[in-house]
Symmetry: C2
């Protein structure tokens, strides 16, 4: 059995109160006593029980992160930022994943109660009503990329719509006419926003072109499959805008395997700017979302909210991704089009 505070007290011939004082540095006590207690504690390899401590202190020193998934480069980056912020603030991190639908989020939410001081929630599948109903207002919460209830909750999100429009605008400016969109899961809010941006921009800029969407699931595999389908089209498009980089990369390889040259025959662009995008060949034009930074900011806000308690300042930050043009698409393309 692990040593408890009582064991230390007995061995050091003091009360448990004194042990607690010695360890936490509260109150004043004889230096001699303190030294003895500390020595015994070390000898017994004593470590305070987190549960008991949390129970009375009403602080678990743990922050929860409810994410739809843990897997893939996007979440890897996100977790990096989250972990960084948590750790640098002396907080533990509890992660929970695979919330493909609202019901699972509800369950996870319940399970976190009394285990964490605050919650970072990213749930692209839950709507405002659900959140309104399931979010305990006793538990400090920060939302990420989630349709916000509009009130009382800090929220960090990416302006998917505006960014998608920017990408389409860029492609059109490069002279592309038939631009296909490889979409994310239909129930996913981010995916829906990106698609909406694509469709609106296309209709506004190229009224004679009909938006054309190929389904994907945000994974490399699904991007690969989408690429294969695109390459097999009767008349392949001259540009592909994938809803995220993973799919863009999968698509890239599929198109290459099918004999299409990128970017000469067909341009491919993505969304996120995940680390691998820097190295991929042919170069990938994409929309840079500083994922890790976004996660870190959200977590920092959560820490502040937990610390403030009485005075929770609401922060709503919307980040517009930055267009990163890596593939050259200017001169040649335009000329080819105007010919």
């Amino acid at each position: 059995m692990t040593a408890t505070i009582k064991d230390v007290a007995r061995e050091a011939n003091v009360s448990v109160a004194s042990v607690s004082r010695a360890l936490n540095g509260h109150g004043s006590m004889a230096e001699e006593t303190r030294a003895r207690v500390l020595q015994v504690a070390k000898r017994l390899n004593y470590a305070p029980n987190g549960m008991a401590r949390s129970l009375i202190m009403r602080r678990t020193h743990t922050l929860g992160a409810l994410l739809p998934e843990l897997h893939g480069e996007f979440f890897s980056e996100l977790i990096r930022g989250i972990d960084l912020a948590a750790r640098s603030n002396g907080m533990h991190l509890m992660v929970s994943s695979s919330h493909g639908n609202a019901a699972e989020v509800a369950t996870a939410l319940q399970a976190m109660r009394g285990r964490v001081d605050g919650l970072l929630l990213m749930s692209p599948y839950a709507d405002a009503g659900f959140l309104q109903q399931n979010l305990s207002d006793a538990l400090p919460t920060v939302l990420m990329n989630t349709r916000m209830p509009g009130t009382g909750i800090s929220s960090f999100s990416v302006d998917n719509y505006a960014a998608a429009r920017a990408m389409v605008t860029h492609l059109v400016a490069c002279g592309h006419r038939r631009i296909v969109h490889v979409a994310g899961p239909t129930e996913n809010f981010d995916a829906a926003e990106r698609r909406r941006g694509y469709e609106d921009a296309l209709r506004a800029l190229l009224p004679d072109q009909r938006p054309e969407v190929v389904a994907g699931r945000f994974t490399e595999e699904s991007g690969h499959a989408a690429g294969a389908r695109i390459a097999a089209m009767a008349e392949p498009p001259d540009a592909v805008f994938a809803a995220n980089d993973s799919m863009a990369i999968g698509c890239l390889f599929a198109l290459g395997a099918a004999g299409l040259r990128v970017p000469e025959d067909i341009a491919v662009t993505g969304f996120d700017d995940i680390p691998i995008a820097r190295f991929i060949n042919p170069p990938l034009t994409t929309l840079r979302v500083r994922i890790a930074e976004l996660g870190r900011h959200a977590m920092e806000r959560l820490v502040a909210t937990v610390a403030d308690q009485g005075n929770p300042r609401i922060e709503t930050r919307t980040l517009e991704p930055e267009l990163v043009v890596r593939a050259s698409c200017g001169g040649d393309r335009t000329r080819k089009q105007t010919n």
Copy 2:
């Protein structure tokens, strides 16, 4: 304030004991009472406090994972497996990272005490003595890729040495003579084993060749830098064996950017078979480590150990990575060498 068991008891006109019974299904009670309690609990949106529950039950239903890092495709895969096993066994997951040295591991170990039912530890920087001293034998522990204390602790690891030898053997069989190794961090045990395998195999197979090692840090960036250095060598080698795929991929792009053709001029191979390796072009020959599966197995063992308690079966599994040959290197290469 969040509702407690007392609130439910008061509202339902029963004792807290009855509420507890109703919720946990223990003991027998009038169906009518149970229904009333459950209804009140739902109305009050009551959820048991995890801390208090853990304190008395002596089970936190939480498993801890101490990893050197959370970032990158390798850990992304690992976490996937870990999370999968934890969740499918109804366990919460607490992660802790960035243990670049033994001291940090010790701190993290302390912090986990009393917060988790069991620990999955991957610490390529800690040695047997350290573990012997810091691992509480009260806390079920499973080791991953860690020099084992040899006794009493389940351990799952990759046979880095044998795999590295296999890779060198393959390269030599393909006709390569000057094989450079891009190593991982020197203090990292996995990295050291892979390097040892490379050196031993090279000395055994090609006694006239001197092992040549370029430093790396397991990251894509460091692989890229290593590739640049290799391309700049007076007489570039005809093969590169990187200690992991991330570096191999970074290296690949750097070599390509420097005008070297892969695999015609120089072969590049890696270690891990991370997901992206399937799509990369030119194809990457690598050593497949079923990372997610390894994580899942380790976690399953941990769950079993936690459940057994009195009778902890020790399981030591060593996984030998499988050679995945994606790049063709047979005919041409051999001919070129023999000319």
